[in-house]
Symmetry: C2
Subunit: 245 residues, 2 copies
Amino acid sequence: MKVKEVADLVGISVRTLHHYDEIGLLIPKNTTESGYRLYSNSELETLQQILFFKELGFPLKKIKEIISSPSFDRGEALALHRKMLVEKRIRLDKMISTIDKTIQHAKGEIEMSNNEKFEGFDFSHNPYEQEARERWGDKAVDESNAKINNMSKGERKDFEDEFNGIYRNLAAIRHESPESDVAQEGIKEWYDFLNRMGNYSLDAFKGLGQMYVDDKRFTKNIDQFGEGLAVFMRDAMAVYADRNK
Amino acid sequence: MKVKEVADLVGISVRTLHHYDEIGLLIPKNTTESGYRLYSNSELETLQQILFFKELGFPLKKIKEIISSPSFDRGEALALHRKMLVEKRIRLDKMISTIDKTIQHAKGEIEMSNNEKFEGFDFSHNPYEQEARERWGDKAVDESNAKINNMSKGERKDFEDEFNGIYRNLAAIRHESPESDVAQEGIKEWYDFLNRMGNYSLDAFKGLGQMYVDDKRFTKNIDQFGEGLAVFMRDAMAVYADRNK
DNA sequence: ATAAAGTATCACGTAACGTTAGAGTCAACA
DNA sequence: TGTTGACTCTAACGTTACGTGATACTTTAT
């Protein structure tokens, strides 16, 4: 399919497709001899994913990261999309009921607090970030665990090997400065690994690091690999998060 | 209330409030001696309206026009908001069912056409424009009539006087060129008048003009004010629409 | 075969803020 | 009562996600 066909099908502009090509978000692999972009069926599916993420308020840069990640799992993404769309609908319902209340309020039928007037509006920045923050505490761990529990024995072994490998590596370099290249490379591995499990924003990642120190259960587990590793990781994770946002 | 209180309450940034002040969308009437912005309760309500319109995808410029219009009716706006939010929820439901289908499709359980893959995504530009387009045919007229029927006798008289005045003026200048200043000024009056009734986009306005000629019932009515007025209005309306978008 | 419609690549424009930067303000605490 | 620390101001440049031409080539329709 050529640009305009695609654009009309999904209700976006040709310029938008050009733009997605420019920034490397959706580059059609095929072109005619004359240089016309040709979109395959699979590229249409990717476009669908992109639009889902967009509807959920993700910036294009993030979308690119997500879908071009080798660990990107279409099925998982679809499930997440569904979940977030449902949440969005809940918010919409709240807004509708807020309007109904406001209409009554305008008629002088009921009282309304300032807080009530804005129910459903508190998208504090980004719904995804909100999700991420919810995952800070235990959710992320729970979800990771659930994922691990669903693995076959072989998969689990591979997983644990990789996990331990990263930790051992970090333990080995824990006396370096958290800003050093070697530390940042090690922590990047950790970040990438985590993002193959759950979905961590940089803020969430930073918060997670803080938790390694604040929550003694974590500290204890982590420091088994080497005394002071938790503190080192927290610092390196903070540096990593600040540098990459 | 001071900026940050407001910002935190509604979940937007302080910068956003500053911005709304800069562009004249929401200027707090009160300030402390030291120049701190102070938001009153009524300004909070205006902010609520602004955020509703924003959620519906209106650009700030349009929002400013709407809420600062002397004919802006809070009650009517709330009703419209409600309607559009419900529509948006319907679209969300479609997207959710599209996802469900896609998940099944991914499992190889069902077939899916390209069109199906994008159901719920066809926000061809702006949901508001869609509404406007729906109103082209008769809806606008119906709604205007409904509004007129709800008027008191005095109001209706004023309304008819203004209406007739505009038409008589247009009839008087119908031999000028549709591009002339005098024609464009006359047609602007008509556009403004209509927008005090319903809500016409420029495209809708242009389409309405075309209808004046296509639909003989309209032509007949309009030409009572002067032979050829319908055609003149259609042309002038098209020019006006094209120039102002 | 010639216009109309589609496509391509620059490249500048725009909307709605984000993000410093530098400086004044205010309540609270030592 | 001096000094933080949280908040506020204005000013101005940066950013995201395209919009909007301008100019030139290609394909489709008549």
